[in-house]
Each structure stands twice: as structure tokens, then as C-alpha cells.
């Protein structure tokens, strides 16, 4: 993955989040406070603006910039979580204008670790970890397009499966059993972000 592709991924993710902002908010309204779409859209709009304003020699720097921007613009639970994930991803990558697929895979796992450390969520708690974790597990091999496709599918499946779970972290956990039957908004936005990578890598 090169600098341009990293930026293109974030741009595609921003477009996807913008297009689905209403739906993400609706999912959040059902079990949370109805702002997830607005939060993500505000954050990714700021990310694109920040990337547009800079020049980047290193793939890692792109993701660190994205993460720092999300932390400073989103707020809520998703801001620090997504922000830390992208920052950790960027910091884990070796410096330079290009990284290999295995390096990217390791970076994504570092992002997951950061999310789990900050938020304390386990798989099965009905959070974005339930999309992120299977996506990272599926992101394998040397072919970026194939790895991205597998990851996106796994993330989508994980997101959909949150509907069957009882939430144990974040706002939805207040609902106890009543959270069952509702798909987690953060898991859904995670799936959108992984799917965005396939859009620009598919041959």
C-alpha cells in the first residue's frame, strides 16, 4: 500500500460514512443516543480536510494524521476509539512511502489492540470490536485486494451478528436484554470502513 492508496482508502471511507450517516444515526438512536452517523461524518470530513492540507511521505503518517484528527474532532466513544486505532496503525507501520500487505495486517492488529486497551471491550460485547476483530483475523496473505475483500466480508458478518448479542459496553449496555435484536452502530461503521478498502483495491 502506497501513500496515495492510503489516502484513497480514507477518502472512500469518508464517502461511505457520509452516505450512510443517517442510517448509522438511526441504529444509534435505537440503542444509544442517535449521534453515531453525525459523529463519524464530522470526523471523516475533518480527516479529509487534514489530509488535503498536508503532504505525506510515509503511509504511517497518513494514518497517524487521520487518528489524531478523529481524536480531536469526534468526541463521544467513537472518537477516541477510532482515533486510537488509526494512530496505532500508523505508528506500527514502518516509515516510508509504501508498506507490504503483511505489514498492513500487523498494523491493523495494533489498531485493534489499542481499541481493546482503551475501551476494554471483549469480543461478544456488541461493539465495534465484533467487526474489527474478525476483519483483522481475515486480513491475510500478500494480495491486498483479496485480503481486503475477506476482511470486509468478515467485518460485515461480525456487524450483523451483533444484533444477536447483548451489549456489555458503551451506551447500549444500559439496555441489558433490550439491546438484543439491534445491530451495533460502531460495528456497522467499522464494516463500512473495511468495505471502502475493497472499492479501491478490487481489480
Amino acid at each position: 500500500m502506497e501513500v496515495d492508496l492510503a489516502i484513497a482508502w480514507l477518502r472512500a471511507a469518508a464517502d461511505s460514512v457520509a452516505a450512510s450517516a443517517g442510517e448509522l444515526t438511526r441504529l444509534d438512536a435505537a440503542i444509544g443516543d442517535g449521534d453515531h452517523g453525525v459523529n463519524m461524518n464530522r470526523g471523516f470530513t475533518a480527516v479529509i480536510a487534514a489530509l488535503d492540507a498536508g503532504t505525506f511521505d510515509s503511509v504511517g503518517d497518513v494514518f497517524v494524521k487521520a487518528g489524531t484528527t478523529l481524536i480531536s474532532k469526534v468526541g463521544g466513544a467513537s472518537g477516541p476509539l477510532y482515533g486510537s486505532a488509526f494512530r496505532a496503525l500508523g505508528k506500527a507501520l514502518p516509515a516510508g512511502p509504501s508498506v507490504t500487505v503483511p505489514e498492513l495486517a500487523a498494523g491493523l492488529r495494533a489498531g485493534l489492540d489499542a481499541v481493546r486497551k482503551l475501551g476494554g471491550a471483549e469480543p461478544g460485547d456488541a461493539t465495534l470490536v465484533d467487526a474489527y476483530q474478525p476483519a483483522v483475523d481475515a486480513f491475510k496473505g500478500d494480495d491486498l485486494a483479496a485480503a481486503a475483500e475477506e476482511a470486509a466480508r468478515a467485518a460485515e458478518e461480525g456487524a450483523r451478528a451483533t444484533a444477536g448479542l447483548r451489549a456489555r459496553k458503551g451506551r447500549a449496555s444500559y439496555l441489558g436484554e433490550r439491546s438484543v435484536g439491534h445491530q451495533d452502530p460502531g460495528a456497522t461503521s467499522t464494516a463500512l470502513i473495511f468495505r471502502a478498502l475493497t472499492a479501491i483495491t478490487a481489480k
Binding site: A29, G34, L118
Partner: protein
């Protein structure tokens, strides 16, 4: 399909029936209005915080709180002598960001350290935590007081823990008074935590809240149903119930509170009957009257009380009841002068 269909086909285009311009500008424009209305406050529009005009006060422990907007007068309306030194409003129902909290913290630090008063929500906790780490890097001593008084939520490893609601006002008032009279960082934080430990709250919603971004109520509540144990962000509550007479609802809320934090006859309490925004004052007073009778019957003395809209949830029709077991120290600090847009006495 990744995203399941909305139950209502017209979700996308609600008419946002509010006194606003662009929903995205609500917080910034309201902050401009607050700045214009209160020359005694200093509003930093760029960093998005509200501070006492005379901050930093050298040698005084500073109190910083914040959280999502939409709970006004909390927190911005509680900035002033005797209460907060600064407040950080986030977007509507979205916790503030670390940069903002850090900026406010540095702006009001008078060298004696800063207490962060944080309502226990995942977002608030994480953002304040990041800000506190950044402040430590800049050699500002920060102590965090977590407020988690809402007994409607189970306090277990299965949840994000109890939410911070009405007790936040009491923590800010009492810790604020302690700081004003010269309390040290650890002392101010300690009494804030003690107030939280001694407090319990329970809320009801009659209607769901409508945020500017969503433009429509966050959940559907049939005409004869209420949400018992609702949160202040329009989170659905502990359970749906049939609407009942106020006397029954108050008795049930009191039972929930006393089950979580028992009180005995001869205990003294500070009571907050708090409107969530859309409930008329006349109903809050009616509820206070009922509550006063029930407490009297149990031999519990109401030493101080406050009835009004203080910790709100935009336009939600609903109310919360907070009981704080009082110590002499609490009462002394409660009575101390306070001069803020939202709470003012003795000054």
C-alpha cells in the same frame, strides 16, 4: 444488506422543528449567544470552552467539567465563583474532545491543580482520560471525579456502569465551594467523590428526546407508556411501563433509590427534583410535594432542596429525582455563595 432497513421509510428527511439554523452549527451559535449574554464569563470560541472571566485564580484548585451539549444549564451554566472554573461543551450528546478539555484545563489552572468532574459515560471517560494524560505531559496535576449516581443502571461488569446524572450538580456545587474556600487538590477531589458516593438518582421519561441532528424523537413511546430509568441522552430506560399517577411513580423511584443506597430514619438529605427539559415546573413542584411526604413518613429529613430544570435532556418530558445523604460539611458547602448563570445564591 449490511444496514437493516429503517422501520420508518421517511427517516432521512425530518423537519427539524427547533429554533436553529444549520443543525451542525447549534453548539457554536449557542456558545456565541452565551458569550453575549454573560460578560462575566469568558468564552473561547476556537477552543470551545467557557471559563470564569477571572480565571486562572492563582493558588485556587480549578474545577473543569464538560460533556455533550443538550443538558443545559449543565455544565456551562454552572461556571462562576463557587462552582466550576470552566466547562467544555461537546456536540449535542457527544462528549467533548481531549484538545478542548486540555485547553480549558490549562486556561484555568492556577498552579494548584485541576479537578475533572466526569459523568460516567464511555465517551466522556475516554476523552477526559486522554486529556488528563496530555495535561500530565504538560505538568498540570489533574484529579478525576467520576459521577455515577443513576441507579437505574445495574452497576456490574456487564454494563458500562452507572451513568452520571443529577448528582453532577451537587458534586460541582459542593466541590466548587470547597475549592473556593482554599481546599487542596486532593481535598476537593475527595469531597466530590464523597458527594457522588452518597448520591442516587432515578429518572422517568414521558417522551423521547429530539436532537437537532436526528430531527425526530429517538424512540417511539406510545401515548400511555413511559420509560422508567431513562438516561439523559435519550437512551431508552430500564423498562417500559404503563403511565401511572405521579404519586405511584415517585414512590417507585424512591424505592429504587433507597434499594441502591439505603437511608435510615434521622438521616438528612439534599433533594434535587430535576426536570429533563420538557416538563413544566408545576409538575416538578407537585412531584416534590409527594416526595417530601414520602420522606417524612420514613423519618428522613430534607435539609436542602432544589426544584427545577438543571440537568436536562433537550426537550425531553421527564424528570429525575436525586437524593444525597448529607453531612454537615456538605450542608455548609451547599450554603456557600455561588454565582453562576444557572445557580446563584448568597452572592
Amino acid at each position: 444488506m449490511l444496514i437493516p432497513r429503517a422501520p420508518s421509510p421517511d427517516w432521512e428527511e425530518p423537519a427539524v422543528k427547533k429554533f436553529i439554523n444549520d443543525p451542525a452549527d447549534v453548539v457554536a451559535e449557542a456558545l456565541a449567544g452565551l458569550a453575549a449574554a454573560h460578560p462575566e464569563l469568558r468564552v473561547d470560541a476556537a477552543e470551545q470552552y467557557i471559563a470564569r472571566a477571572d480565571a486562572p485564580r492563582s493558588g485556587k484548585v480549578a474545577l473543569v467539567s464538560g460533556g455533550g451539549s443538550g443538558h443545559e444549564p449543565l455544565h456551562g451554566g454552572f461556571v462562576g465563583p463557587g462552582m466550576l472554573d470552566a466547562a467544555c461543551p461537546g456536540e449535542i450528546f457527544t462528549s467533548p474532545v481531549p484538545d478542548q478539555i486540555l485547553a480549558a484545563t490549562k486556561a484555568v489552572d492556577g498552579g494548584a491543580g485541576v479537578v475533572h468532574i466526569v459523568k460516567n459515560y464511555t465517551g466522556d471517560v475516554m476523552n477526559f482520560q486522554l486529556a488528563a494524560e496530555m495535561a500530565a505531559d504538560e505538568n498540570v496535576a489533574v484529579e478525576t471525579v467520576l459521577v455515577d449516581d443513576d441507579v437505574a443502571v445495574e452497576d456490574s461488569t456487564w454494563t458500562a456502569g452507572r451513568r452520571g446524572t443529577g448528582a453532577t450538580l451537587l458534586v460541582e456545587k459542593i466541590a466548587g465551594a470547597r475549592a473556593e474556600e482554599g481546599g487542596k487538590l486532593a481535598e476537593v477531589a475527595a469531597i466530590g467523590r464523597e458527594v457522588n458516593t452518597n448520591s442516587a438518582s432515578f429518572a422517568y421519561a414521558l417522551t423521547a428526546v429530539t436532537t437537532p441532528a436526528a430531527g425526530r424523537p429517538g424512540f417511539d413511546l406510545p401515548d400511555d407508556e413511559i420509560e422508567a430509568g431513562v438516561g439523559i441522552h435519550g437512551e431508552p430506560g430500564r423498562r417500559r411501563e404503563k403511565l401511572r399517577p405521579a404519586n405511584d411513580l415517585v414512590a417507585a423511584a424512591l424505592d429504587a433509590i433507597l434499594e441502591a443506597k439505603p437511608l435510615t430514619a434521622s438521616d438528612e438529605v439534599i433533594v434535587l427534583v430535576n426536570g429533563l427539559g420538557g416538563t413544566p415546573l408545576i409538575e416538578l413542584y407537585l412531584v416534590y410535594g409527594t416526595l417530601a411526604k414520602l420522606l417524612e413518613a420514613r423519618g428522613i429529613t430534607i435539609a436542602r432542596r432544589l426544584v427545577g430544570n438543571y440537568v436536562t435532556s433537550l426537550d425531553m418530558a421527564g424528570l429525575s429525582i436525586t437524593l444525597t445523604k448529607a453531612t454537615d460539611e456538605f450542608l455548609r458547602l451547599w450554603d456557600a455563595p455561588v454565582s453562576t448563570p444557572g445557580l446563584r445564591w448568597g452572592a
